[in-house]
């Protein structure tokens, strides 16, 4: 006996999401707090707000030479340079550490573990103090980076300027990149290790069954899948890295926060400058995390 087929029905209407009375109370309390804060900042403390000079801290107009970059822009560009190089270098070092952690050789696993735990369990600032002097006093003469930096600083090339910034700061920028990369690499390696371990055994056995060597298995089957899984936490780490570039200011690397403090000292425009600096950091990091969310959403769409 065959049954009559029931028709397809449209889904029932979704229930609207409404704010309840309690929600309005909480919102009102938040607004009141923000109002008080604004009042205190604007009127209750003796501070003359003046935003007019802030743009000139980035770019100013010179009668003879036209528009010139000012301290904040120099710092911002240096931060972007450090960020790009440190991202690339920390990914490479992090991948190396992650592969060491998963190696069949016990001493490699052990060495990577020591490095990662060392870095993760001391504050970044302390790490920087130790490593900056190690890197710039011991490593640079050894690798000939000081001579290289000197040679580069004499060059007039625009490319050198785009890549490394003001000639006088080249050595500092390189030192900053190395310290920051070493530090972030420890965290990157933990993220990558988790991603690699999350790729199923079935995928590895599939790779072996088609005759791939262990390194081919890692390169063509495991890593591509691991990287996709860890894009969101990697972007999160990149955001941390951007914020951590501000630590470089304590060793006189002319990045954005250092530039901000220089401007504050010379002009006294404390709040205007620091708020501007904060907004720039925020925009950069927020843009990245939005991008990451998009990537994630796109990925889920593709996977279905």
């Amino acid at each position: 006996m065959s049954l009559p087929e029931p028709p397809f029905d449209p889904p029932p209407p979704a229930k609207p999401q409404r704010l309840k009375r309690g929600d309005y109370l909480i919102l009102a309390a938040c607004a009141a707090f923000a109002g008080v804060l604004y009042y205190r900042l604007a009127y209750a403390i003796p501070y003359e707000w003046d935003w007019s000079a802030v743009p000139s801290f980035f770019v100013y107009y010179d009668e003879e030479t036209g528009y010139r970059q000012n301290v904040l822009l120099v710092g911002l560009l240096n931060m972007l340079r450090i960020m790009v190089y440190a991202t690339v270098l920390s990914l490479i070092l992090g991948l190396g550490l992650a592969l060491m952690r998963l190696s069949a050789q016990a001493w490699l696993r052990w060495l990577a573990r020591v490095i990662v735990e060392f870095v993760r369990n001391i504050p970044p600032l302390v790490f920087l103090f130790i490593f900056y002097f190690f890197v710039s006093d011991m490593l640079f003469p050894l690798l000939g980076i000081r001579d290289l930096a000197n040679a580069l600083s004499r060059s007039e090339s625009t490319l050198v300027w785009v890549l490394l910034g003001e000639a006088a700061f080249i050595e500092n920028v390189i030192a900053g990149v190395i310290c920051l990369s070493l530090f972030e690499a420890a965290y990157v390696s933990e993220i990558l290790r988790a991603g690699i371990e999350a790729v199923g055994r079935d995928q590895r056995e599939g790779a072996r069954a088609v005759g791939l060597t262990p390194s081919q298995e890692m390169r063509y089957v495991v890593l591509p899948q691991a990287l996709r899984k860890v894009i969101p936490p990697l972007v999160g780490q990149l955001i941390t890295l951007i914020k951590d570039t501000s630590i470089m200011s304590v060793i006189s690397i002319q990045e954005f926060t250092f530039a901000g403090s220089e401007v504050v000292i010379s002009t006294g425009r404390i709040f205007e400058v620091w708020i501007t600096v904060a907004v720039v950091y925020f925009l950069l990091c927020f843009a990245l995390s939005s991008l990451s969310q998009r990537l994630e959403a796109g990925q889920q769409g593709a996977r279905r």
């Binding site: 079935d202 056995e205 599939g206 069954a209 088609v210 005759g211 791939l212 081919q216 063509y220 996977r303």
Partner: protein, 245 residues
């Protein structure tokens, strides 16, 4: 004729548990052997050892007279000559069907990409899903995925194909399409070693049926004999449980 794969007194332990107990088994060219037995009887472990996915502790396992060594440096070369089909298909999730088929030939055998793609399309044709070449594994049904996995193995031109419960993870309506593909392979003369509970397949395709229980080979016979007059009481008991009455 000499054996392609030969096990002599093969023993393997997982901790204290002995998974294989002095297994003797040889696979000659053109033979189609079905291995059956209750779960935990060591049948999957046996064929995983043959593809060097598991190491063994005692006895010998030979491929054309050379020891199969899961930890040895040349193990990937060996696997290029032995096809393996898994219960869970083990297709590469990040690659399309065509890329799944080409990875081994290009990276392991060193074929050029066009050569590998020709070969891949040929075998997709053979397992009757040429139209799925551009899709990802997750977009296919279980039966289609398993046929892709079979084609992926065939792309390496293996001398022998190992099947580890190829239909156990499939919905009932998809079992037949995979078995039909395997029957086609058998008719082409492929040497096959199949771990399965599909006794219909064993009856119609196998030259030999091997019954394993608790890590040991209990009985080995031609299917007519195996199903009509099994010698061992344990075989009879097993067949009683799984054959329809």
């Amino acid at each position: 004729m000499s054996a392609i794969i030969e096990a002599r007194g093969l023993s393997k332990w997982f901790g204290q548990f002995q998974a294989l107990r002095r297994v003797d088994l040889s696979v000659r060219p053109g033979e189609r052997i079905v291995i059956c037995g209750p779960s935990g009887s060591g049948k999957s472990t046996l064929i995983r050892c043959m593809n060097a996915l598991e190491a063994y502790e005692e006895g010998e396992l030979l491929f054309h007279g050379t020891r199969i060594d899961a930890e040895g440096p040349g193990v990937h070369k060996l696997r290029q000559r032995i096809g393996m089909v898994f219960q869970q298909f083990n297709l590469f999730a990040h690659l399309t069907v065509l890329q799944n088929l080409c990875l081994g030939p290009v990276k392991a055998l060193g074929l050029s990409r066009p050569e590998a793609e020709d070969r891949a399309r040929h075998y997709l044709e053979k397992v009757r899903i040429p139209e799925q070449a551009g899709k990802y594994p997750s977009q296919l049904s279980g039966g289609q995925q398993q046929r892709v996995a079979i084609a992926r193995s065939l792309c390496l031109s293996p001398e022998v194909m190992l099947f580890d419960e190829p239909t156990s993870a499939l919905d009932p309506e998809m079992i037949k399409e995979v078995l039909d593909t395997m029957i086609d392979l058998a008719e082409d003369g492929m040497t096959m070693l199949v771990v399965t509970h599909e006794m219909g397949f064993a009856k119609s395709v196998a030259d030999q049926v091997v019954f394993m229980d608790r890590g040991a080979v209990v009985e080995r016979a031609a299917p007519e004999r195996f199903f009509s007059a099994p010698e061992s009481a344990r075989t009879r008991d097993f067949l009683d449980k799984i054959l329809p009455h």
